[in-house]
Amino acid sequence: MKKLALYLMIAIAAAACASHEQRTEPQVTDKSTGVTPPRSTTGSNTVNPTNPNAALTGNELHSGVLAKRSVYFDFDSNSVKDEYRGLIQAHSRYLNDHRDSHIRIEGNCDERGSREYNLALGQRRAEAVKKIMTVLGVNDGSIETVSYGEEKPVAQGHDENAWAQNRRADIKYRGE
């Protein structure tokens, strides 16, 4: 009886998180530096305007600077470091060019401190990234900010190396 319930639960959970796997490898990008993302100055004519998700099945979001999805933070800080401006600008441009696209920015914290306060801190990190994007013209309604607090560390250790990887905001596109 217990096994049955367990399998059932795993099956439900697996169905529920089917699109959630690539989050754990935010660093998989090509190593070419100074990539200038393809700049579309003419709006949505580079993709099928009736099916904005068509772009998501292609490679545009999974190569170049758009494949970079993670912004890392210092301890106790929600200020976005200059090295992530390019990444945020690229995603802002993409969202401005694809007005039907929606993203979720997921804030995360290291394990130190109180869980509920960390949840709010992670949300503030996500909000800090969103704020830059809206200044760059992205619709407020295209971005939801949420937080996992300290609940979903990508690095399991209990040292600064692990903590640095866990102080993070991840950009996720709807439909991915």
């Binding site: 697996a14 401190g113 509920e116 909000e127 949420v146």
Partner: protein
Amino acid sequence: MKRVFAALGLLLFALAAHAQLTIDITTSGGRQIPIAVVAMAGEASQPQSVSDVVGADLSRTGLFRLVNTSGVTPLPTEPSEVNFGDWTARTAEALVIGKIEPSADGRVEVRFRLFDVVKQSQLASFSYVVAPAQLRATAHRIADVIYEKLTGDKGVFSTKITYVVKRGTRYELQVADADGFNAQSVLASNEPIMSPTWSPDGSRIAYVSFDQKKPIVVVQNLAQGTTRIVAQYRGNNSAPAWSPDGKWLAVALSKDGLTQIYRIPAGGGQVERLTDSSGIDTQPNYSPDGQTIAFTSDRGGSPQVYKMPANGGAPQRLTFEGSYNVGPRYSPDGKYIAYVQRDAGRYRIASMELATGQFQVLTDGTLDDSPTYAPNGKMVLYEASVGGRGQLAAVSGDGRVRQRLTSAAGDVQDPSWGPLPTN
């Protein structure tokens, strides 16, 4: 044994849990009352020894010392058999005797008596007619009576606790007796579960679920196994806190930007914003009289504990020492708050007397979190980090008695101590 109690939808699994919590006293201080708890007549043939559980309950508080009963012959089970000289010779100040006899329809009658050995008088006498399977619960009720007679405070041996167990990527919300026995899983998920908290009547638990890939607030009815989503607004929904009358849930929502505190009628209805700051406001907790909400806010630059009227209004800062004081919980008498404070990179549980602002650091861990008062206010249960693993621990309100509740496997997180039974 491993029965599925309910399977209504995604959230409702109630599996008998594998892991019991084992409680050890790590420190005790102050004078202990020497008490002799004599084996009850007839308990050897029962599935559960009542006197063993009574003795363990009392001993665990750190307030009692169990007096050796061996060598007294015959061991008394009736008042007429008590020779007080036997017990004064063993320095016992209190004596517990009793017997268990078969009753009608397979039930048993448990009768116990508590004596003041010094005054040679009877302090209490009760009898209970119960099913043999209820003997453990009956022993807790007996320990409650003894504790209250001898200390003047309510016993909490018949209460329940809830907490989250994390094993790998699997999370379970468990409910157990206050001594860690009878752990039951009331919810299982492959996504995090956070911040469980008992309704004032003990019938429901509000918690934060991530099953929808973001934090939402859910209330689960324990007897019925039903769940209801009370907050799933845009952004984060977390930190549920019941008003003492059970009518409201204060929650932390980020639907309007940064996390702020709102309240929602527990039965459903319109959400109402209570705080309006440019920082983070979270971790609300109602005072026992329902008039005030204590909460965490970093509106002043660093996270500190504030309080405000329960329907919103001007906040007042309560903590001033240090740069990190979060997660306040009122003591049941409303005179103290327990909270998490950071000092030199260590996170510990402190308590503050509200009338004076005097505070005391109660714990000595490195990553202590989630304090929750026992309903008699005598102990604070919290989450400690031991070797990188979450484990539950408890400390007396004066910091002198410490207990560790160890679990065989997994991280144990986010405890909440349930209310006193209503009967």
